[in-house]
């Protein structure tokens, strides 16, 4: 990715008598890969390759949407899946493009880094013979002190200066190439940071219901879903336990839009003394080796089921919010251990009980009771269906704890035994005399616990990337030359006998402000020395710009 076009041309290689065709092919391919044209094509491809990832649902972003897509397009989805379209940014084709691009980048900046270091160590080149051929040129009366005095002024203006006899060469604006190299090197570091995060990072999501009984400790089994980098073992997880004490949420009266969230927790890190902590959206809980993020919240209705033997079980059941503004929740309260005969201790799987349905924090005054009107609990209502039968929880097949196993229902192993709208404190007596009581609710929060060891590198390299970018865009490399020579013998000069200085300036990149800078610099160098005009147009040019 050669950006500057004024790279010193390497000395012509002496042609070897018989070039190895394989080596030649490799060398040509490498040159092709590291050429600017290829880099541009790869950049363009990268932009195009990113589009499918935004159009199609992505597993890493929203796995439910991917499942829905499979249902909606049963023929197309498997084909797309084989192409990696649901994990577009980790797919072979996307990786291939950015890896090629980064190879091209490294192959380009490495020789440029070498050249730049060489340029930084070398002195500004000798002045060309004809300074009047340079884009900027002028002649003025020499200041007292000659070339060393000029050099001193230039040094004060932060130019790199080299004096050769009566000639002064100066160069400035190395920052452009330095910045450019820093920018590209930072890009490589960003990629390394991302790679570190995906290899050594891990994350887990779960629901945490308020109360001491519902606390959890950081092990892989405690998460509903986890994502572990290939280099992470479950033993690597930092040790801490978390208990939700209280959750506060405020909403706008007018439309129920959330305004404020705050979770109060008790943290027990590394077996130390438990300490209170708070966190919120935008302000995660930062623990040693893990961060805890608040992703969502809802209500967990607490219900008590009393079976036919008179034994009661109480459980808070987080009802997952369905996505409306009123925080309508959908969930399941399952009692697989209900109706165990206390005399024999035998469990009849046919007598397992579950209640499935909706929780409405603020139920409307009239039906249908399917959608809550407000996110706080103004008129709490459970809209439940009771099921009895084998819930399928014993089969060892992993199932959701939030919904009834539909296969059991379809197979007739679970039967619907009634529906009911249950208000707070209300008791529902089922056909077999067992009862369900709606005791209240506990708030729950949805947590994401994450660790990304690459984040510091990402942050630092983003900073250097930005610095480099600005240096590269706003730095301008330019050279000026001054040559002190005796006054024109023809006697055109108004100050005969004194010597003159011929100055030339060469911007090495597109730099419209260079003429002004050159004029100012010449004025500074000539100091009190009066400008003369021995050769009309060239001198006048400075004034005209």
């Amino acid at each position: 990715m050669t950006v500057t076009d004024d790279r010193p041309t390497p000395p012509a290689e002496t042609p070897r008598p018989r070039p190895n065709p394989v080596l030649a092919l490799l060398r040509n391919s490498w040159r092709q890969l590291t050429s600017m044209r290829t880099a541009l094509v790869l950049l363009f491809l990268l932009a195009i390759a990113a589009i499918p990832g935004s159009v199609l649902p992505q597993r890493g972003v929203n796995p439910e949407d991917v499942r829905d897509y499979f249902v909606a397009y049963p023929d197309l989805a498997p084909v797309l899946d084989r192409l990696g379209a649901f994990d577009a940014f980790g797919s072979v084709w996307f990786s291939a493009i950015y890896l090629l691009l980064f190879t091209s980048l490294v192959g380009c900046i490495t020789p440029r880094l070498r050249d730049h270091i060489r340029a930084l160590r070398s002195k500004p080149p000798a002045a060309p013979k004809r300074l009047d051929r340079l884009p900027q040129h002028t002649v003025f009366a020499a200041p007292a002190g000659g070339a060393p005095a000029i050099a001193a002024v230039l040094r004060r203006h932060r130019w790199r200066v080299e004096v050769r006899g009566d000639e002064v060469s100066a160069e400035k604006g190395y920052l452009k190439e330095t910045g450019n190299l820093l920018f590209h090197a930072s890009l490589v570091l960003v990629l390394i940071g991302v790679a570190l995060g995906s290899w050594y990072g891990w994350s887990g999501n779960r629901v945490l219901v308020a109360g001491a009984d519902n606390a959890f400790c950081n092990t892989q089994q405690q998460y509903a879903e986890t994502s572990f980098g290939p280099q992470v073992q479950s033993a690597d997880l930092p040790r801490f336990c978390l208990q939700l004490d209280d959750f506060e949420a405020r909403f706008l009266e007018s439309n129920g839009q959330p305004e404020f969230f705050n979770a109060k927790v008790t943290v027990d890190e590394n077996g130390g003394t438990p300490r209170p902590a708070e966190f919120s959206v935008n302000a995660p809980l930062r623990l040693d080796g893990a961060n805890v993020y608040l992703l969502g919240h809802g209500y967990a209705p607490v219900v008590r089921y009393t079976d036919r033997f008179g034994r009661s079980q109480t459980s808070p059941n987080p009802f997952l919010i369905t996505g409306d503004i009123g925080l309508t929740g959908e969930g399941l309260a399952a009692f697989p251990d209900a109706n165990v005969d206390p005399a024999t201790g035998e469990r009849d799987p046919e007598l397992q009980v579950a209640f499935s349905g909706l929780y409405l924090p603020t139920a409307p005054q009239e039906g249908p009771f399917v959608r809550s009107e407000f996110p706080t609990e103004r008129n709490p209502l459970l809209n439940l269906v009771a099921y009895r039968g084998n819930l399928g929880l014993d089969a060892g097949i992993p199932g959701s704890v939030y919904e009834l196993d539909q296969r059991q229902v379809d197979a007739g192993r679970v039967k619907e035994v009634g529906t009911k709208l249950l208000q707070l404190g209300e008791v529902w007596t089922l056909d077999d005399g067992t009862t369900l009581e709606f005791l209240g609710t506990e708030p729950y929060i949805v947590l994401s616990v994450r660790h990304d060891p690459g984040s510091t590198l990402l942050l630092v390299s983003s900073g250097t990337l930005l610095l480099g970018l600005m240096g590269s865009l706003f730095g301008r490399r330019r050279r000026v030359f001054f040559r002190v020579r005796p006054a024109d013998p023809a006697g055109e000069s108004s100050t005969p006998g004194s010597s003159l200085v011929e100055a030339g300036g060469l911007p090495r990149v597109d730099h419209p402000g260079f003429a002004d800078e050159f004029t100012r610099l010449v004025a500074a160098v000539s100091g009190a020395g009066r400008r003369v005009d021995p050769d009309g147009p060239a001198g006048a040019r400075v004034g005209a710009e």
């Binding site: 990715m1 050669t2 950006v3 500057t4 076009d5 600017m36 044209r37 880099a39 541009l40 950049l43 363009f44 990268l46 932009a47 990113a50 589009i51 990832g53 935004s54 159009v55 992505q58 890493g60 972003v61 940014f89 884009p135 900027q136 991302v194 994350s203 706008l252 839009q257 959330p258 305004e259 404020f260 969230f261 919120s280 959206v281 935008n282 995660p284 993020y293 992703l295 994401s448 994450r450 990304d452 984040s455 990402l458 942050l459 983003s462 900073g463 990337l465 930005l466 970018l469 600005m470 865009l473 706003f474 911007p507 597109d510 730099h511 419209p512 003429a515 147009p537 040019r541 710009e545």
Partner: protein, 330 residues
């Protein structure tokens, strides 16, 4: 305050429309013949300052031949100039109304007016027009671009009012962070400059074709535009200025996303399209710095970059569902 803001938006659309018409009058009066003489020198001087020696005046023979037409032409030119200055004045009025609408909206909502797509488009377009005044102040010869700029303004602000209007509501907790100001302000600012940048980019593409002798439809419009080289340079300056700000905005967004959602980068549709824009603009800057790539091709990349910004602004809010769903549209 909310009602005042809405009325000011309507008035500013009308004012932009008037400015556009007055710019069109200037355009219609503009006469190519008067461009020999001092104005031409001014133009070329601004365009290729580095080349030096430009604008050394017309040939004496040309001057003699044109002398007869000079008086009439100059009168028309004076009228065109008056119209142009008038158009700029009306644009200033429109921009002030626009700013007033934003302030009123901010006061009514008691926060920065960037909370939803409607407010976002209003702010981006205001940044665009404000930056246009800076450009105009530095390079008065580019005034005729105002025709295209006011056209873009009318389209954007009217789209915002007609299609995206959202009543004022406070911010959702996810937006309630100081990063909201940092991230959104820089995104708005850089998008505004990109928006302004596409005006000279489009004008350059037409003008370059015109200068190459093409006289078919879109190129002919560029007959009275400033010189292609000046337009191209302005395009580059605007993008080179905006790109680091955009880069910073994306980085700030990533830092915020780490705090809010637990990951710096998650390929949310908005993030993906910001990535696409970044890559395309990076491609533009590289292409422009490469002598073997034609300036036309590079400038097309800038236009493409702007299309991706627009896609991110409108398309992603409307078509995709993601974490950045603050559009306020149902």
């Amino acid at each position: 305050m909310s009602v005042l803001s809405d009325q000011l938006v309507t008035f500013s659309i009308l004012a932009y429309l008037v400015a556009m018409v007055v710019h069109a009058v200037e355009y219609a009066l503009g006469n190519a013949r008067v461009r020999v003489g001092p104005p031409a020198r001014e133009l070329v001087g601004a365009a290729v300052a580095a080349a030096g020696g430009a604008g050394s005046g017309p040939e004496p023979t040309v001057r003699a031949a044109a002398a007869a037409q000079q008086t009439a032409a100059q009168r028309t030119a004076a009228r065109a100039r008056l119209a142009g200055l008038g158009a700029v004045a009306v644009t200033v009025v429109a921009a002030l109304l626009h700013l007033g609408a934003l302030i009123a909206r901010g006061v009514a909502a008691d926060r920065m007016p960037w909370g939803n797509m409607y407010e976002f488009v209003l702010t981006v377009s205001f940044i665009g027009v404000a930056s246009w005044f800076v450009v105009l102040w530095k390079r008065p010869t580019l005034r005729r671009l105002g025709l295209f700029l006011t056209l873009v303004m009318v389209l954007l602000v009217a789209t915002a009012e007609l299609l995206l209007y959202t009543p004022i509501v406070p911010l959702v907790p996810a937006l309630n962070s100081y990063w909201f100001i940092i991230h959104v302000a820089t995104i708005v600012f850089s998008s505004g400059i990109f928006l302004l940048g596409v005006v000279p980019a489009g004008a350059y593409l037409m003008r370059a074709g015109y200068e190459q002798g093409r006289r078919s439809f879109p190129y002919l419009l560029a007959k009275r535009l400033p010189a292609a080289a000046a337009l191209e340079r302005l395009t580059f300056v605007l993008h080179a200025f905006s790109f680091p700000i955009f880069t910073f905005a994306v980085i700030a967004g990533a830092i915020w996303a780490e705090a809010a959602w637990g990951r710096a980068w998650g390929w949310d549709p908005k993030e993906t399209w910001a990535f696409i824009s970044w890559v395309v603009y990076a491609g533009y800057l590289h292409a422009r710095a490469t002598p073997s790539v034609k300036r036309n091709v590079a400038t097309w990349l800038a236009v493409l970059g702007f299309l991706t910004v627009m896609m991110n602004l409108f398309g992603v809010n409307i078509f995709f569902e993601g974490l950045h769903s603050y559009g306020g549209l149902d």
